[in-house]
Symmetry: C2
Amino acid sequence: MTLTIPTTYKGLTEVTAIALAKAVYTFEPTAELSCREIGDGNLNYVFQIEDSKTGNRVIIKQALPYAKIIGESWPLTLKRATIEANVLRKHGEFVPSLVPVVYAADETLAITVMEDLSHLVIAREGLINGQNFPRLSQDIGEYLAQTLFHTSDYGLHPFEKKRLVAEFTNPELCKITEDLIFTDPFFDLETNNYEPQLQSTAEAIWKDQKLQLEVAKLKKSFLTESEALLHGDLHTGSIFASTTETKVIDPEFGFYGPIGFDVGLFLGNLIFQWITREGIERQVIASHIEKTWDVFAFSFSELWKRESVESFRDTQGYLEFVLDKVLTDAAGFAGCELIRRTIGLAHVKDLDSIAETEKRINSKEQALYTGRALILQRQQIDSITDFLKILQEVYK
Amino acid sequence: MTLTIPTTYKGLTEVTAIALAKAVYTFEPTAELSCREIGDGNLNYVFQIEDSKTGNRVIIKQALPYAKIIGESWPLTLKRATIEANVLRKHGEFVPSLVPVVYAADETLAITVMEDLSHLVIAREGLINGQNFPRLSQDIGEYLAQTLFHTSDYGLHPFEKKRLVAEFTNPELCKITEDLIFTDPFFDLETNNYEPQLQSTAEAIWKDQKLQLEVAKLKKSFLTESEALLHGDLHTGSIFASTTETKVIDPEFGFYGPIGFDVGLFLGNLIFQWITREGIERQVIASHIEKTWDVFAFSFSELWKRESVESFRDTQGYLEFVLDKVLTDAAGFAGCELIRRTIGLAHVKDLDSIAETEKRINSKEQALYTGRALILQRQQIDSITDFLKILQEVYK
C-alpha cells in the first residue's frame, strides 16, 4: 500500500491510521492489523493499532482542532501535537524508561505515533480504586529531577537553553493554564463550576486579598520564570502506572516555566487522594508525597554535583537556595491546583466521584482550605515535613 | 544611481554608504552629500552622511562581524544589528522622543539607518566633564517606565508577549553579559583586568561566599526572568544628552529579562559619578538617582492603573510588590555593574580617567565596597532613600 501524507490537516480514520502505522512502525510481514479509536473524543483521537498475531500494538494520537468542554467547542491549536511529541523526545533523552517511545510525528496531521501503554492504568483511576503503585513516587521524583535539571541553565549551555525556550514557546496552551489555574477560580466568573454548598467558601476566596496577592505572585512566576522545560500538566491523569512501571504522557502543555510548577501539580494531585483517604491508606499517600520530594531533591543534587555547568555550582548555599525555591513554589502551585480543581472549570474525579454528598462537600472544602494554607504559608516551608504538616494542620 | 543591495554581508565604504542613504532617506533633490566614518571601529562602523547645503544628516550604523577588545578579535553575531533596530522600533512606539528614529534596517548588511544625534553628547562624557543634564533622570525614568511596562505581561496580551520573547532571543550577547557581569569578575580569571593595588580587595570578593551566593541568585534572575523587553546595556555611554534632550541608543543587548536590570545598570553608572564627585556636585547625582526612581515608579504606577491587562491589577499590594522587586533587583544589578566595571574586563572612563593614583584607587575600592553592599543589603531596601543610604554608609 502506498502512503500519501496529506498536505493539509485531515482527521484519520481507522483505515488511514492502519496505513500510517504500517509506514512508520515495523510490524511483522505477516501482521494482521486491526484498529480501534480509544480516546475520549474531547481533545484528541487515540487510535490503537494491533497485530492480532503477535499482540504488538502501537498508538497514533491525533490532535483535534477544537476542545469540547461542557458541551462547548473551543478552537485549539494543532501545534500542541508537535509540542507534545518534542517534549516526549526531549524528556526521553534523560528518562527513556519513564516516557513512551515516539516512533514518528507529523506536524500537518498533528499526529504522534508512539508506544502503546494499554497494559498500564491511569494513575488517577488506579489511586481512586485503591490500587497501590509502589514505584510511583520514586519514578516521578526521578522524572522531575532528570527532565528539569537537564533542560535548565544548570544542565545546558545558554545557547542551547535559549534555543529550546524559543522552540517550546506554547502561547495558546499556556493561556489556558493562566486562565484556568491562576485567574478564573480567584474571581467570581461564569466559567467557574462548583457545587452550591461551596458558595460561601468560594466567596471567601474571591474576597481574600492576602490570598489574591500570593496567587498574583505565583501567576507572575508562571508567566515569567523560564527555569526548565516543563511537562506543564503533570497531574495523576497524565501518568500511566502499574506496580512495576511508570510512564508520563500528554505533555502538550510543555513550555519553559518554573520548576516548582511540575513538582507542585503532581503533589497537589496526590493531595486530593490524601484528602479522600483515611488511616493507613492516607499514610500511603503521605509517603508518596514525601518520597517524590526526597527522590527529586536527591537526584537533582547528584546531577548538580556531577554535571552542572553553572560557575556558582560550588557556592555555599546555592543548591539549597534553588531547592528551597522549588519546594516553596511547588507548595504554592499545588495550592492553586487544589482550588481550581474544586471551584474552577475542570474538576478531578478524586473529589467529584465521592457519592455521599456530605463527604464530597467536606472533602472539597478541605481541598480549598488546604490550597489556601499551602499558598499563604509556602514561604515558611523548609522541608517536605513542613509541607505535610500544613496538610495535617488544616484538619485541626 | 541604482542601488543594488548585496545578498551577503559586505562592509560599507563611504561611497556605498552615501548611495544607501540616498535610497532610504529623503534628502533634497539638490543635496550635496559627504560621508565620514565616526565610529570607534571596535564593534561597528558608524557612517555620518551630511547634505552640506542644508546640514541634514543621517547615520548608518553597520555591525562588524567581530569585536576588538584589548587587541583581541572575537567573532560576534551580525544579528545584533537586527536586534538593535527592532528594539529601537519597539521602544520607539512608547517613547518616540527618547530614542533615535529608525529609517531603515537590513539584516544581511547588518545596518541600521537612523537619526543623526551628533548635536548631543554621550552622557558619560558629559558627566565626567561636569556637564549638567537637567532632563536626564526625568527622561530615563520615563523611558524605563514606558518601555518596560508596555512590553511586560502587564501591558501586553500573553500571545504578543510570548511572540516578542521569541523574537528577541539574543543568546550571543546575553552570554557576553552573563560572563562579564555575573561570572568572571567573581572568580580569579585571566579575563579580569584590575590595578595591582586592588589585588587584596579583589581576592576578598572571590572568597566572599555570602556575596557569591547573592550574585548567583542575581545571575539566575538574569538568565530566567522574562519580565520585559530590556535595553540590556543601559549605561551612561548608551545615552546621548543635552540640557534639553535625551536619547537612548545602542540596544543591541536587548532581550526579555528582569526589569530591574535596566534600572540597575543606569543607577550603577550614576553611582560611578557619585563616587568621583564631592559636595554639591555629588548631590546633583544623588538627585538624579532619586528622580530616576521616582519618575519610573510614578509613571509605571500610572500605566498600571490606566492600561494594565493583568486581572490582579487591583489586588491590594500587588503593584507595590512588583515595584519593590524592581528596586531590590536594581540594587543587586547595580552592585554587579560597580564590581565588574572595576575589576572585570570592560572598565568605565569615570574611574579609569582619574589621573591621581591614590584618588583613582580609593574611588575603585569605593566602587567595590558599594557594589558589595548593594548586593548584600538589597533585600532591606524599601525606598530610593534606603538605596542612597547604602551609598552614604559605605563612606563611614
